[in-house]
Subunit: 140 residues, 2 copies
DNA sequence: TTGGAATTAATTGTGTACAATTAGTTTATT
DNA sequence: AATAAACTAATTGTACACAATTAATTCCAA
């Protein structure tokens, strides 16, 4: 039987993907703590800052998250006064999530974050572009 | 005030990292289900297949996980009969984790997995090499 | 050598992820 | 219109992640 080098941790592609993802989320933490947001709550806010309002369905599609994750998370954002939920009158099964004035206000503080994170990651702009392109290919 | 395009989801680097990581772990699931392992349990087994035995501390360093994650996870692997825990006689604070015969036996089934995952990811070998290199730079 | 600092794994508590199920609503077919 | 199929968010249950604390042990400096 041949050697099983293929199972060595150092040979895996997905392990650095998994580890780097957690590492980068960790880097966000001090900045997000100032906003009182977790990373997942932050990406929900990113979508809402961009769209203003969005159905829960569409929100899940954008973030690759399901109702099991989003339902309790939106409850927390609602408790913080950052978002509001309403039923779609045309189809009451649908929940429409919209950002509140307070939620919009938080955007000002958030604006600094992407730049700060960029400085933390010790990769070049070229590598960042390459990385993003490959990751999006995986997601496609 | 200038436009805040920097907060658009499509401009983020870390979001595709986070999303792709979860996506790839999802791809493992059907294969790992056959072994009765979760993804995190699988990477612990990767280390143990490679090392035979390792201290909990070192295991955490390799996987970027702490005792809060590892302690309950190792209990589950122990219940499955795949690993054993023992105290280091020289320093009883230290836990030494070692793979059992049954654990080693599982390696045979696992050997197929990296190849199967490779086929699922629709990226080229060159892109995979690039990706791994950049991710390791982030982790370094 | 002894008492404080450091180390280690376990514990506790919060917040995701996600599979699977449920309950209510809408759509489509007869 | 009646009913089956499809759809939607909520719920339930399991398993991470990780910060913070705890308890036991070891190290180290006076």
């Amino acid at each position: 039987m041949k050697e099983d080098r293929c199972l060595e941790l150092g040979r895996q592609l997905c392990f650095p993907l998994y580890a780097a993802s957690r590492e980068v989320v960790r880097k966000y933490k001090p900045f997000l703590d100032e906003l009182g947001l977790t990373y997942t709550q932050y990406i929900v806010m990113l979508v809402l800052w961009e769209e203003g309002k969005i159905s829960m369905q569409e929100l899940g599609n954008r973030l690759y998250l399901d109702s099991g994750t989003l339902t309790p998370l939106l409850v927390k954002l609602e408790e913080k006064g950052l978002v509001e939920k309403a039923r779609n009158e045309k189809d009451v099964r649908e929940i429409i999530v919209s950002v509140t004035d307070k939620g919009v206000g938080l955007k000002v503080q958030a604006r600094e974050i992407p730049g700060k994170i960029g400085k933390c990651l010790n990769i070049s702009v070229i590598e960042a572009v390459q990385l993003k392109k490959i990751l999006n290919k995986i997601l496609e």
